[in-house]
Each structure stands twice: as C-alpha cells, then as structure tokens.
Symmetry: C2
C-alpha cells in the first residue's frame, strides 16, 4: 500500500496506473503534474487524480512513489526537477519505452540517489493516448520490464514491482541494454517498417488507387503506422544504436529475399515463409501478444 | 442466373463463391473438381457442391461459368484442360492473386477462345483456407478486380461481373499490369516484409526472449506472416518483376530512414511518421480494409 503517488504525465500510461492502484485500494492519494490545465482537469474529472500538483518540491518530498509517464524526451528534465526534493521514503520510476537513455539520464541527474530510481517499461498498447484513454485494466496480464541499475536498492525494486503487480501486471527484470535490444527487434523496428511503407505509398501520384485496393492484410500490417509521430521519433532516437543494428540485419534479410526473387528460387522463399508461419503460429498459440 | 457453375478448387475462395450464389438463388447446379476426395466430400457435406465432377469434358461443355480457384500455380494447367471442351455458352474466370501470369497462360493455352476468358481477383482475406473456411458472406462489400484482355467479349465480362455482384462484391476493372503493380505495393510487399521479420527473429538464439516480449503491435504487424507459404511463394514468383520493383523502392525508403537515424535527424523521422499516420487514419476512416 502506497501512501502517496505522484504522477508526471496524466495520459494513458500514468492514468491507467493510478486508476488500477486506486481500484485495488493500494494507494492513499494520487497527485498529478501535467503539461496543460486541460489534461489535469480531465484527469481530476475521470477520478485518476485526487489533486493536481503545483509545487513539485512539496509533493515529491512526501511521496512514496513518483511515476514519470511523460513522453521519453522529458524524462531527464523531470529527473533533474525531482531529485532535490526526494523524501527519505521516496522511490522514483518511469514508464519509458527505451531504457538505456533513461539510465544515462539518471546517472547524469540523480547523483547519490540512484538507489531510489527503478527504470521501468510497461508493455501496453498505446494506439490511443491521453487521460480519456486510461483504463483500470490496461495492465492486467500485461508485462512490465524493470531494468534496475547496479546501484538500485532492492527495497526500491520491490516497491515498484509490487505496485505493478497490484495493477495485474507480470513483472520481469533485465538490463537496460538487453531491454533495448529486445524492443528494437520486436517493437521499434516493426513500427519503423510500417511507417515507412505507408509514407512511401502516401507520396505517390496513384495513392488513391493504391489505398482503394488495400485490404485486411494491409490493415493489420499498418495499424502501428497510426501511432504517435513524436513519441516514435523520440523512441527511435533514444534507441538509435540498437535500432540501426536491427534495421541493418533486416535489410540483409531483404537482400537475401531479393536474391531469391531474382533467381526465382521458390524453395528459398517457401522455406522462409514456412519458418515465419510456424513461429508466428506457435507464438499466437501461447496466447502471447495480448 | 447461371444454370451451371463448375468450380476447380473447392476451398475458401471457390467454396464461398458457390455458397453465395446458391444463397442468392443465382445458380442452378454447382459441380466441383478438387485435388482430393476428402476435400470434395467435405464440400458436398457443407452444401457447397451439388455434385463432385469426374469428367472434365462433360461438365465444362454444359457449364455457363467455370471458376478456377486453385492455387495460382495450377491455373495454366487447368486452362489447357478445359479449353477443348468449352460449350458455346461457357465463360471461364479465375480468382488468382496475380493477373499478368494468368493472362500469359491464357494467351498460351486458350487459343481462339480468349473472348470467353475473364481474369479476376476477389480481394478477400485468406488467413484460413479450405472448404471448411468457406462463408456465404465472404465477398459481401469486398472488392473484386477483373482484368479483361483486349479480346475478352463484353458479354463474358458482364456475366462474371454480375455473378460477383450477386455475391455482394463491388467489381472494378483495370489492366493486368495495373493490377499487379497495385497489389505488389499494397499486398505482396507487406506479406514479404512480415514473413521476413518473423523468420529473422525465429532463427535467433534468443528467440524465446524476443517472442516473450512481443506485444500487440507485433501481433498486428505479423498476422500476415501466418499466411500459407506455398500460396505466397507462388504469388511472389508470379508477380516477381513488380514485387522486386516495390521491394527496391522500399529498400530505398529504408536507406533514407537509416540515414536519418545515423544523423539523429528527428525532424525527418517525425515528418515520415506523421505523413504515414495521416494517410493511415484517412484510409481507416473511409472504412477501407474490411
């Protein structure tokens, strides 16, 4: 049970976290900071917040947990703003989709307080965003990855893990580098590929004809191309090195398939497609992917 | 109203066509040819067929419409088998996902009967296949593209168009080359890209870790990677030239995005993502994609 939670960013991620802890009776008071009065008012009306915060020092010093759930580009700035005011009991976590950049920001701005910082990443869809999209069950049976630093206190990790578990999530731990490698492959690259395809089609003279005949396969493949441009710009830049590595690997794979097409090598194509189908089906049968 | 329909290939595509025409009372008798007795028996039990055919000549000569709905690799062979037996009233169409190869096969095998051949492509999902997957409403509000040859009779086109419209489909016409260009871009390339990603992940040592953290974005992006390997091998080979052209264009797009990543050019990334998002949303709002 947390006495007081302070949330920076009262959108889908922070809002759903607050709603889930409130519904579980696991938090005394939720105070939020947001970019606009409008979003704070909305969060108040939706019951996400008990109060909107105005004084960071006052709110943070008495908080048991601070969740940074802003766009990742803002995390460093908020770490720097909160660190002078940490109370003896305050633990800080974040919800960014990339972790090495957050760890670097924490090393730069969190000084002697690294024991109290627990980098985290809830894996929950974000097709819609904003407080209105927040849901009490967003994290139920979803995964949350924590990437503690060597300096992070075991007690801090336990508090953050416990809070996510109370939201219904399954929590695992890995290093920030492992995390960024995994998500470059299974999330950041697919987003880049989907954006790339739709943008390319959209710039053509015959775009209306093309889109008129796009069907359900296209719909699924490009759903993530409707994701938030600035959010994904930040993610791609924050995880640039791992993403470039994945992209180069993928370009190599496309080169191989191009060669197979040029040679009309049906066996090679069918083997690739069959391997993909088997893996995709096994994955789906495990009930993965939410 | 068709007196007699003969279907080669009693799977999802041919089966759904027969079911829809029967439900609409637009066909007198449906006779099917299939690869196995098992599939023919299944189609009989499901009410797709009135009879299984054994003598191609007898069945085709009295048919008003012949639909070739086998894997595209078989189309040429079936065209050659049926052409000696066309009755004076018989019109032939197909349901292949590529059209230039079908037109070439028709030119090679259909001799003086090109007036009676109407190449077609119903755009309907095929995640599942086989007669069991056939549905009376598969084509409702779906698109069907016809790519008539210069030689095709207007009356033949009208008969095929009418049959598809009775199934609830919206029918349009374009050339086979236009068709293959459009579908290379909006269907064949996305399938290749999705297969390529999953195959690449599936071959890695840490595949279990990767798949364990793949979430809903990955699920959508890779749904088409569960498609039928041999069917997609055939499509890729049949539409090789257009697909290579699209693939090269896409590789160029990836090169540009890689450069933007290397230069940390956030503006370029955000502009690409925003263009994609806008186009994707506009497309979805039109209710496209089924």
């Amino acid at each position: 049970m947390l006495g007081k939670l302070v949330v920076f960013g009262v959108g889908l991620i922070g809002g759903s976290f607050a709603l889930a802890l409130k519904a579980a009776g696991e938090v005394g008071e939720v105070v939020g900071f947001g970019r606009t009065l409008g979003s704070l008012n909305q969060a108040l009306q939706l019951g996400i917040l008990d109060r909107a915060g105005f004084n960071v020092g006052q709110e943070v010093s008495s908080a048991d947990l601070v969740l940074i759930a802003t766009p990742v580009g803002k995390t460093a700035e908020i770490l720097a703003r909160v660190v002078p005011f940490l109370g003896p009991q305050t633990v800080v976590t974040d919800a960014g989709s990339t972790k090495q950049d957050v760890v670097a920001a924490a090393r730069a701005h969190f000084g002697g307080c690294l024991g109290r910082f627990v980098p985290g990443h809830p894996i929950a869809g974000a097709e819609n965003s904003g407080a209105l999209a927040a849901r009490v069950d967003l994290y139920r049976r979803k995964q949350v990855v924590l990437t503690p630093l060597a300096e992070t206190d075991a007690a801090s990790i336990a508090r953050v893990r416990d809070a996510w578990e109370r939201c219904g999530a399954r929590v695992s731990e890995m290093t920030a580098a492992e995390h960024d490698g995994v998500f470059a492959a299974v999330s950041h690259l697919p987003h880049l590929l989907s954006f790339a395809l739709v943008d390319d089609l959209a710039r053509r003279e015959n775009r209306d004809l093309l889109f008129a005949f796009a069907a359900s396969g296209f719909r699924d493949f490009t759903r993530i191309a409707a994701s938030h441009p600035e959010m994904w710009r930040d993610i791609c830049l924050a995880n640039r090195d791992a993403l470039i590595e994945e992209l180069d690997r993928y370009r190599g794979q496309l080169d191989v398939l191009r060669e197979a097409l040029v040679r009309s090598d049906g066996e090679r194509l069918a083997a690739t497609f069959a391997s993909a189908r088997t893996a995709r089906r096994e994955w789906a049968e495990k009930g993965a992917g939410g």
